[in-house]
Subunit: 122 residues, 2 copies
């Protein structure tokens, strides 16, 4: 048997609707880092349209704006997280890191030493 | 915005192959409790064949048996967890419970108080 490893998928819902996930966290974090939804989308292999759709869906489910965009200007368009968006991204990121640490620790203590029955080697 | 709630999906892999998940834990736990794969499958709305398939897949990926079945006898067939199967089920269940507790705690501390921007009520 190959070595065991734990996997964990996290997300947040509000009334059964998705409002944050690890995947969307990455997209939003990239928007914050690059200042560009186009760059964030491209870094994740998403079309601009699809990336916008994902953000708009979260915003509709949350009831507030996560990203604001300014079209045009000298350097072309610019996107940034709203204050509320940044606050949610930061809180979810802390949540995610804490859960990941707990997964690693619980796995180490409960399962890492799990050994299958010895099999004859001869 | 409806109240936020965290969601977490956990599983175990060995060399990128699935060896345990919450869903399969439930199936195996039911086999242990009922002594019958047919009853366990039925309780989960699975066909007997499909339930067997899921267990066989885990066994192939783990390299050891999780369930042993005795066909026939006075009361018909009987299924039970192997010692190794029970050991894995119990360890995974402890792992799962610890992670769920950590998810609840991290959520409470990082996200539960997350309030969207106040909206005009008039």
């Amino acid at each position: 048997m190959a070595e065991l490893s734990p996997r964990c998928k996290l997300w947040l819902e509000a009334g059964d609707r998705l409002v944050m996930s690890d995947y969307r966290l990455r997209l939003l974090t990239l928007v914050g880092e690059t200042g560009s939804l186009a760059a964030a989308a491209s870094a994740m292999g998403l079309s601009y349209r699809r990336a916008w759709g994902k953000i708009r869906e979260l915003e509709a489910n949350l009831g507030f704006q996560l990203v604001r965009s300014e079209v045009g200007g000298a350097g072309g368009g610019h996107s940034a997280l709203t204050d509320e968006g940044r606050r949610l991204v930061e809180a979810y990121d802390r949540f995610r890191r804490r859960v990941e640490a707990a997964v690693e620790q619980a796995f180490r203590e409960e399962l890492e030493s799990f050994a299958p029955p010895a099999r004859p080697t001869a």
